[in-house]
Amino acid sequence: MSSPYAEMVPILLMIATFAAMTFAFKLPVSVSLVGAAILGALVAGQGVPLRHLVEGTLGYMDTLLIIATAMVFMRMIQASGLLDTIAHHLITGFESRPASLLVLMMLFAMSAGMITGSSTAAVLTTGAIVAPAFIALGISKNKTGAIIAMAGILGMIAPPVNIPVMIIGGGVDMPYIGFALPLLVLTLPLAVAIVLLLGLKSIRATTIDRSLLPPTYHRQYGWKLYLPLVILVVLIVLERALPSIVPSFGMPLVFMVCALVAPFTGRRMNPLVVARDAIRAALPVMGILAGVGMFLQIMALTGGRGFIVSLLVGLPLGLLYLSIGLSMPLFGAVSAYGSASILGVPFVLALLGTNEIIVASALSLVAAMGDLMPPTALAGLFAAKVVDQPNYTRVLKHCLIPALLTVGVSLGYIATADFWDRFLFWDNRLALYGILLAITAAVAVVILILDRWVIRHRVATGEAQS
């Protein structure tokens, strides 16, 4: 294989095999990925490289544990009644401020992503908590799934913890310093815009039906009910706030501890059966990750990966933007972290000369969109599980416009990097914070006005119906 084009053959064949096995033969995605990987290796003259195939799966070891334990935790607090209870109180407490509630719940849904740096963890924890509330507000299951998937992704990118940026930084020796403000400026406006875009119309059209509200178990079990969540927050915050004193527990351990506490805090359940069913729900994704690991390893082995990367980063500047917008989410299908590492690093190098912090921040958000890309679509898939939608493409459909908006905004962020470089790294910090605060206040006022507008509209429809 001396010609670079000859090395295209295995990768093209791998993609074709995968597509055929998944769509024509309706095999599970994971099994199709394994088949494609084996065939790719065979065609490239590597035989069946067992060591490589097995080694590839190990690349997702930590992700597998996070997914498994997060899923168990989520099912446990669902079974204990905690999820229903919180949704109940959120809605009754904010009945007169629906638009504010939307925005606050969006920020709350993001919060787990902000501190864990994982969209899966966010969707399965804070996302799962607010999902019933969104539904009770009159937002459809699928749209609710889309909202919490987007919240998980934006949360993963928002500071203080952004793993994709750290991965990109690791590849270009850029310390994780000075990212908080550029990332906030990038993600928060998007979060507000997206939740209003997806939710405002639905909440305007419905009045809250108290009989459809999820039940509250607060009176029955009292504050004990909230214990798993309290422990989760305490452990994560402690670990993040005092990294040099508190040992790093890691997400799997934190989820495991909280999951073990849950059965003693609320409704009766059989924790073993709950855990077993949680793993059953997580298994398709875990299988896909193992399969993707094999696929990636064979891609690197046969040169398919290098073929794609060198093709993409070598494009002229105009096409480079297009290539970032298309290839990073596409590649993110194998994981947002993988996209950040494999494409994010060369893209930052190709854009050297522009403020690297702005570029890496924007690239991390584009890479994160990969969490919506089938076959893995981690954020979309788990959001679908949270809202009990067996077909995750229905959730993804509603993510399309928000995702396009996000990619567009991110590319715009790179294109206008010189402006942000001057503004966000302005020496006059006082003026900078003043301007940002004024903008935030203005947005808050708009949301408060929206609250009244929604209520008034709702009354009008109510009268029309009567």
Partner: protein
């Protein structure tokens, strides 16, 4: 996911699948475990004694991170130099240069201390999803000699799990996986994780042995801006600049970079800050490490030829020239050897505590005769005679 009714899954099919999984695991484990055996290094006539890194920090005794430290002591007293190879086990020119020094160099004045596998644990595994071969061979006159291609970081088996964020001993926040990167862990900590303990032991060695000049050998991917370069702590900047000038005179293109003050945990920063040594790091171009590389094979590691990199160079994406001849391991190791020799020469011109080392092969000699000519035969020096 398509839901399909029925299917042929039974208890016995589960058992059969488990047995098959077991067979796959057994085969794969066999090759994973083979990586834990160190290929031999044959100390040359210049080596006066071999100690262990754990002699400097006993916390490493019996751990997979303990590693051999080769001491080459001259008959006359002088200064002391440290050469570190294998900080990153996926940068082969680094550890091969150290091995070539151990097998060839002879010190007449002062001392040369060489650690060929600084992160020993990293030599026992390859990184997942990179498709690396586990070994590569260098042709010697007596036949092919095998070496391991390891990973950038400590084997996760020896240090698990990674934190979400790694805050190193110098206070820098890094991605969690960097917790296993020796060159982000300096100055290390005796109570830290295994990698930090290795870093601590190395810093302690520098202090205890009173090392005057320390050189950390590395390789980088051709698309990475700091390449074919010496990175120097500000105290060592003069020596680096002067050495680079001499090397350029001899026709070897090499740049000098100042160690960034805000990038903490790296050897060229922390060695220089924490000890009195002159801290330097040297980079060579390794296409096998790059993200643009084609087929990942042992041949690529040794010959350094890659058509994708030739095209990338034509498009101006690289920071080193890249022609059809590539960057073979002979050239990369030869560069490192020549750079080490030149740095020592320049250092000697500034001090009375000379470190005089003979027998370091030059770049042109390695290019002419091949690296194998300077390595002991596969089964030891006696067998080749």
């Amino acid at each position: 996911m398509i839901e399909r009714e029925g299917g042929y899954g039974r208890g016995w099919t589960a058992v059969v699948l488990l047995l098959m999984t077991g067979a796959v695991l057994l085969t794969a484990s066999h090759s994973f475990l083979a990586m834990r055996v160190d290929p031999p290094i044959y100390p040359g006539p210049g080596v006066t004694h071999v100690v262990a890194l754990s002699d400097y920090f006993e916390g490493l005794i019996g751990t997979p991170a303990d590693t051999a430290v080769y001491i080459l002591e001259g008959s006359e007293p002088g200064g002391t130099a440290l050469v570190l190879g294998g900080t990153h086990a996926n940068e082969p020119a680094s550890s091969l240069t150290a091995i070539t020094l151990i097998e060839n160099a002879q010190v007449t004045r002062g001392r040369l201390i060489v650690i060929p596998r600084a992160n020993h644990s990293a030599f026992t595994c390859t990184e997942p999803q990179e498709g690396y071969p586990q070994t590569y061979t260098i042709e010697t006159p007596a036949g092919p000699r095998e070496f391991r291609y390891g990973s950038r970081g400590t084997n996760p088996i020896d240090q698990w799990p990674d934190p979400v964020i790694y805050v190193n001993a110098a206070g820098q926040s890094l991605a969690g996986s960097e917790v296993r990167n020796l060159n982000r862990s300096y100055p290390g900590s005796p109570s830290g994780n295994l990698t930090e303990q290795v870093a601590y032991a190395i810093v302690k060695l520098i202090r205890q042995e009173d090392i005057d000049i320390s050189i950390d050998l590395h390789e980088a991917s051709p698309e990475y801006p700091v390449i074919n370069a010496i990175v120097a702590h500000e105290d060592a900047l003069n020596i680096a600049a002067e050495a680079a000038m001499f090397l350029e005179f001899e026709g070897m293109q090499i740049g000098v970079e100042r160690s960034p003050a805000n990038l903490r945990g790296l050897s060229h920063r922390e060695w220089g800050d924490a000890t009195d040594t002159l801290a330097l790091l040297v980079e060579a171009p390794n296409p096998a490490q790059g993200r643009l590389r084609g087929q990942t094979t042992a041949k690529l590691i040794v010959e350094g030829i890659d058509p994708y990199y030739v095209r990338a160079a034509q498009r101006g994406l690289l920071y080193v020239p890249f022609s059809a001849e590539g960057h073979p391991i002979d050239e990369r190791v030869g560069r490192h050897l020549q750079t080490v020799a030149t740095l020592l020469d320049v250092y000697n011109s500034y001090t009375n505590d000379d470190i005089v080392v003979a027998g370091i092969p030059t770049l042109s000699a390695v290019l002419e005769q091949g690296l194998g000519a300077f390595l002991a035969p596969p089964s030891g020096p006696e067998s080749g005679l």
